[in-house]
Symmetry: C2
Subunit: 340 residues, 2 copies
């Protein structure tokens, strides 16, 4: 059913019906009630394309993923967070998949030129991220999940990756550990660089330099954790503690430690970063896993809200947040064994 038919059933003009539905003030309350009830009854809803043409707003937020690895467990939780907030405004998420950086840029061009979305969410930024300049020039509103050095008046939400790892490292140092390994994300990704700085800063406070042999970078998979940890354990002077960038790499690291005959918590301390997944909990591991915790789902929900605010006219420069990360001590961390 379209507006014309719907309005004629109510014996009103399209104008009045449209205004009643959009909440304009100049409609008589009784008329509005009648329209609203009828819309529910007949299941009338404005055609999105017509609405998009007339108003320029389509009620969808875009997000682009690299088809391969990027659709990981973080992604689904983050999207779950976005969704819970956006559904309240009946805004949907438009997901596009790409194979390369170049394809990603082209997708933003396509989304902008065809006016498919009202805004996009940029994630996993690089220090100097070319997507910022592109989106700015396309005049496609956006919010960044993470931070970047790229200039511009955009909004962003990030967790305090620096302090999370600084805290975790300091805690291990306080327990007497001096050889602390680090499973980090890819170099060039802002979050990984921030974490590296936090690691370095904490070590430096104890006069310790970063040992390149004891830190590794990669995608956060179980295998990455397993392989890198095996490498660390094979070192002449193996670490007594490890920082893992995610639950997935922590699982692999724990297994490598176990297989080598050592015990997590007793022989080697472990702290992982936990994005809080519903299907794998640090409380449920053996031993329970100490973590730096920050719900990526909550971040998604807040970013959704920031996007909606941005579209409402809130200046991007006021939409910037750094979320603190909590260090949660469980049983995978202990005093450094003195016999090393």
């Amino acid at each position: 059913m379209n507006l014309k038919e719907f309005a004629s059933r109510l014996a009103l003009s399209q104008t009045t019906v449209s205004r009643a539905l959009s909440g304009y003030p100049e409609v008589k309350p009784a008329t509005r009630d009648r329209v609203l009830k009828a819309a529910l009854e007949f299941g009338y809803r404005p055609n999105t394309s017509a609405l998009g043409l007339a108003t320029g707003r389509v009620g969808a937020i875009g997000i682009v993923f690299r088809g391969g690895g990027q659709f990981g467990p973080h992604t689904s939780e983050f999207m779950g967070g976005l969704g819970t907030r956006l559904q309240q405004d009946e805004v949907d998420i438009l997901v596009s998949t790409v194979d390369s950086s170049e394809a990603e840029l082209n997708t933003y061009r396509r989304l902008a030129a065809s006016k498919r979305v009202d805004a996009v969410i940029l994630h996993s930024p690089f220090t100097d991220d070319p997507r910022i300049a592109l989106l700015t020039s396309l005049r496609l509103p956006f919010i960044v999940h993470g931070r970047t050095q790229a200039p511009g008046e955009f909004g962003w939400l990030d967790i305090d990756n620096f302090d999370a790892i600084r805290q975790a490292t300091s805690h291990l140092l306080d327990l007497g550990h001096r050889r602390i390994a680090f499973l980090n994300g890819h170099r060039g990704r802002v979050f990984a660089d921030h974490r590296h700085e936090g690691y370095q800063t904490a070590l430096a406070a104890h006069g310790i330099a970063v040992d390149p042999l004891m830190s590794g970078n990669g995608e956060f998979t179980d295998e990455m954790g397993f392989r890198l940890m095996q490498g660390f354990l094979a070192l002449e002077q193996r670490p007594t503690a490890v920082l893992a960038g995610s639950m997935m790499s922590a699982l692999g690291a724990m297994r490598a430690i176990r297989v080598s005959g050592l015990k997590v918590g007793d022989d080697i301390s472990l702290i992982a970063h936990d994005d809080v997944f519903p299907y794998i909990s640090p409380d449920n591991l053996v031993p329970t896993l100490s973590t730096t915790r920050s719900s990526i789902r909550a971040a998604g929900a807040r970013i959704a809200e920031m996007v909606l605010e941005l579209l409402q006219g809130t200046p991007a420069s006021t939409l910037r947040e750094v979320w603190p990360v909590e260090l949660v001590i469980r049983n995978s961390t202990g005093v450094c064994p003195s016999d090393l």
Copy 2:
């Protein structure tokens, strides 16, 4: 830039430009080339809303998720598969999140009434799924990921859950196991019911009845696997083999076995269903994990293709596929220890 401006720059009518862009045959090749090149050069793309209004097609496929648990690891892989196929046609995925079944039905009503998507993908069907009748009455084209008894001329793709678990159970029986536990999905979900039937059928072939104490149902989380497995191990006559419905529940089950002092592969055999996640591989576990394997990403890609075919006019009744599932034997399965 809109058509009007773009056409005038080319000194052509909007009609001709539109036809050239849409690949209509009645345009002179030279003209078409000129238009295509200029479109690339100026970055011209038709406005999606205008296109949607004029043609009724919006170039997006909808999928609805329950906000809470359903956004699991399966989801992201499946969407990755959808995306890789859809991107080739520049079709996007419109994701909506809901809290309840009722809200899900309303979302389909909203998507249909507002013509936001060309089709939707239904997933995780129940045996008698009310969504089928609704989508049919809404005339919203759809493909089901999974099967259902609900009547109708719709297309679907499912894996052979029955045979996967039947094979796995038979293999364990062949190894001498007689007490085989089963970590299954929620009752009422078709895939879980099919798996139960496969389990039951294989056991029955050896004259064994299903022992309700040795099978459990739930969401596929690490914790579910851990808790249920602990329960099985506490039984007076504990199982000598276990089937886990997913990698996540398998991780929990393996830990429960380990913590109890038993060894996977030696004391207890384990076979898990593996949807093939990039961040956790059965080859990399200790011991390596025997699985029933089926790439949920590949299923997503094929379903995307089926949706595109459906929209092209292929009859839904010809779009039905059951994919076989491969049993991959690794080191987590062994001969039943005779000392029990």
